[in-house]
Symmetry: C2
Subunit: 88 residues, 2 copies
DNA sequence: TGCTATTATAGCACATGTGCTATAATTATT
DNA sequence: AATAATTATAGCACATGTGCTATAATAGCA
């Protein structure tokens, strides 16, 4: 019976970066005049996923982020125009 | 017995975007003078993961990408300074 | 040509992202 | 306050990202 993390694999979850992205997404979404619901519908992503991203509960994939950028009609440098906080 | 995809869940895998990012990462990595191996070691990511990203085999998470940006010492707008291809 | 460094593949196990559905909590509107 | 709109949580199932290890393929270089 294996207990959790009995080995040495270390997964990275970048809390600081994920939080910063959450704030940025919310800012851009509101700037572009979308509700979470609209963004979900138009992007094909699920509403729960949008909420999870904006509350920094999850670590989204690039595919998800790219889909958001396309739907919001913003460039990647615009969407990623924020300072990446240092790892704590 | 469930067969694959007997339901309607559609997962997005943004082939075009992932490929564009693969090219960009390789470009930036070489520009910054890293081998895949060095980048892996210094970032704490696995070498296989770096290779998988640069060959567009996988859809990395933001945490992974943020870790790469920090190690390569580039800003996010720099790392994401490429055109997102339209979804086909 | 061989040797070495570098990059790419492969397979496994585990962790987790995502869709879906439902519900709760919060915020805006009247 | 009451209602509606919006956002946040939760739980499940499935797909897949990631680390690890090993090996193969390729590229540079003597």
């Amino acid at each position: 019976m294996k207990t959790q993390q009995e080995n040495d694999r270390k997964l990275i979850f970048d809390n600081e970066g994920i939080k910063a992205f959450a704030i940025q997404l919310k800012k851009i979404r509101e700037r572009e005049g979308f509700t979470q619901s609209q963004l979900a519908f138009e992007s094909g992503l699920s509403l729960s996923q949008i909420a999870r991203i904006e509350t920094a509960r999850i670590n989204p994939t690039l595919s998800t982020v790219f889909t958001l950028a396309r739907t919001l009609n913003v460039t990647l440098p615009d969407l990623f125009n924020f300072e990446l906080p240092p790892k704590v």
